[in-house]
């Protein structure tokens, strides 16, 4: 399983980069299996609170909500995923970023899991 070192992770399997880019983890895409649809619940310019739903990712076997890892303002939405939802399976940490946030309080990132903690968290669910 791929867990990049430079990201922070949530218990709901979102990742966030210090620059505010948000996506879902390799573990999440593997659990969902083939993703067939991505629906954004937020648009550019929306203010979101930590824990707000930002998107719904639907696979052949489940539909999962994606939540904002921290509070902030949505500055970009990856509309490409609407046409190519399979990118989430192919490149969850790259092309399949979901939104970019202008993080309200960078200190909020410290509350999230680092790669080591997230790896332990994933193993605890295996």
């Amino acid at each position: 399983m791929n867990i990049p070192q430079d990201l922070k992770y949530t218990k709901n399997d979102e990742w966030i980069k210090p620059d505010g880019t948000v996506g879902i983890s390799d573990y999440a895409q593997d659990q969902l299996s083939d993703v067939v649809f991505v629906e954004f619940v937020v648009s550019e310019g929306d203010e979101v609170e930590q824990g707000d739903i930002i998107a719904t990712v639907e696979s052949v076997k489940a539909a999962a909500d994606v939540y904002a890892p921290v509070s902030g303002k949505v500055v970009a939405v990856n509309e490409e995923l609407t046409d190519k939802p399979e990118l989430i399976n192919e490149d969850p940490y790259g092309k399949a970023w979901l939104i970019k946030l202008e993080i309200a309080d960078p200190a909020a990132l410290d509350e999230l899991m680092d790669a080591a903690a997230y790896e332990a968290y994933c193993q605890s669910r295996a």
């Binding site: 649809f37 629906e39 639907e58 076997k61 489940a62 539909a63 909500d65």
Partner: protein
């Protein structure tokens, strides 16, 4: 008599779960309510029960005993014998949508064809495997429109010419939700465009009916454009039989089309079961409630049918699903499928034309009677029209019922004093010219 368990089996089960007697299982129910006296009549034999039911049923008056011009949402049409014959085959005889494609190809294919025919009739891109009836389909349209805008547009505009029961059901169905309903206190004389007064950036849906509750036909193309210009959706509740003749609402720009499928091979049957039709644009398919059957190929490359896009539904999406409804009217859906398949495009058009022409013959004769006139003489209609009478319509209807004629639906009960003297008259292919002339004669005697 059927006894599911012996005393010994009961005792063994009670011992297993650790109670002494069955009554102990009901300790949580307050004692006063535990064993109320039922005051039932003494028991009867099967023969006696059958006789009692027969005697009760005889008191009913049906469209077989009466000459009927009653419509108002449920219509007396001919149901070809093949419909019941196919419906009662064991392979089809379930009210439910099957989950297992490997044992349900027949039902799934019938549903797929139903969906395809609904799309063809309505001019829409996708149709579900049905809802309970026309009223709940309208309620689902309101719920879907609300979810399409993620709750940011809580207002739904209902036309006053939308069936009063559909409006009532929709309000009941969405009790406790933030959806607010407006528009239906407008006088029914108002043109559909009058609804635009309520359409702003908090409006999700404008719901109209086609033909409307008064039988009137409007082209909603301009309304659809105006509604879309304000960012809202247009929903149209249809009589599917009329679509055999009329321009489909999809061509007018409708975003959601609902319908009462009863006219398509389903008997009146004292109000149900009926069939709720629901169709929409492909881009909204993931917000649509209900079952959806899709066509695919099996492991050997052969055409096969399966339930699809299930992640929309509440058994997967749980509380975030658009609707908690995921069952359908399987058997009634099949009835409509068989009916439409038997008639075909030309047959359906022919039945629709018969309805249209007979209703127009009746309207001409009735409007020529002294004291009678059409309530909406300028507006085209399909198989139903509002007739202004020289006396209160409910009194006239009661009088004609004494002569075994169901004259129609007195509109005052739903639309108040302004419609006290107005009777809604429906004419179908079942009404012979002699029956229409009888109605004209009977009404002519009322002054």
């Amino acid at each position: 008599m059927y006894s599911p368990l012996t005393q010994a089996q009961r005792q063994a089960m009670l011992e297993q779960i650790g109670v002494a007697r069955i009554a102990d299982l009901f300790q949580d129910v307050p004692e006063a309510y535990r064993y109320p006296a039922l005051r039932l009549p003494p028991p009867m034999t099967e023969m006696e029960v059958a006789e009692e039911l027969r005697a009760l049923a005889e008191d009913n008056e049906t469209v077989r005993d009466l000459v009927s011009f009653l419509g108002a949402g449920a219509y007396n049409h001919y149901v070809p014998a093949a419909v019941d014959a196919i419906l009662s085959r064991g392979e089809f005889y379930t009210a439910y949508t099957p989950y297992q494609p490997e044992i349900s190809q027949g039902t799934l294919q019938a549903l797929f064809e139903y969906q395809s025919m609904v799309c063809a009739l309505t001019g829409m891109e996708v149709a579900n495997a049905s809802h309970y009836d026309g009223a709940t389909a309208v309620a689902e349209a309101a719920v879907m429109a609300y979810h399409i805008f993620r709750g940011k547009r809580p207002k739904v505009v209902l036309s006053p010419a939308l069936h009063p029961h559909y409006r009532e059901t929709t309000r009941t169905y969405t009790q406790g939700s933030p959806i607010v309903y407006v528009g239906d206190d407008l006088p029914p004389d108002a043109a559909p465009e009058a609804l635009l007064d309520w359409v702003d950036d908090t409006t999700a849906l404008v719901m109209v009916q086609y033909p409307d509750f008064f039988g009137r036909i409007y082209d909603f193309t301009a309304l659809a454009e105006a509604v879309h210009a304000r960012g809202a959706l247009l929903g149209v509740a249809v009589n599917p039989l009329a679509l055999g003749l009329l321009k489909p609402p999809g061509e007018m720009g409708a975003d959601i089309v609902t319908g009462e499928g009863q006219p398509l091979g389903i008997p009146l049957s004292f109000g149900g079961p009926y069939l709720g039709m629901f169709a929409t644009r492909k881009k909204y398919v993931r917000k649509m409630a209900g079952r959806l059957v899709g066509q695919t190929v099996d492991s050997r490359g052969q055409r096969a049918f399966v339930l699809t896009l299930s992640a929309r539904e509440q058994h997967i999406r749980r509380e975030r699903a658009t609707s908690n409804i995921c069952s359908n009217q399987g058997l009634m859906t099949l009835a409509a499928t068989v009916y439409l398949s038997l008639l075909g495009q030309h047959g359906l058009r022919h039945v629709a034309e018969l309805n249209y022409h007979k209703a127009h013959y009746a309207a001409r004769q009735l409007a020529a009677l002294p004291g009678y006139r059409l309530r909406f003489p300028e507006t085209p209609f399909f198989n139903e029209f509002a007739l202004h009478c020289p006396a209160p319509a409910d009194e006239i209807a009661a009088h004609l019922l004494e002569h075994d004629i169901l004259a129609g639906y007195p509109l005052g009960q739903a639309y108040g004093e302004a419609f006290r003297d107005v009777l809604l008259v429906a004419v179908t292919e079942m009404n012979t010219r002699a029956e229409i002339d009888l109605l004209v004669e009977a009404l002519g005697e009322v002054h």
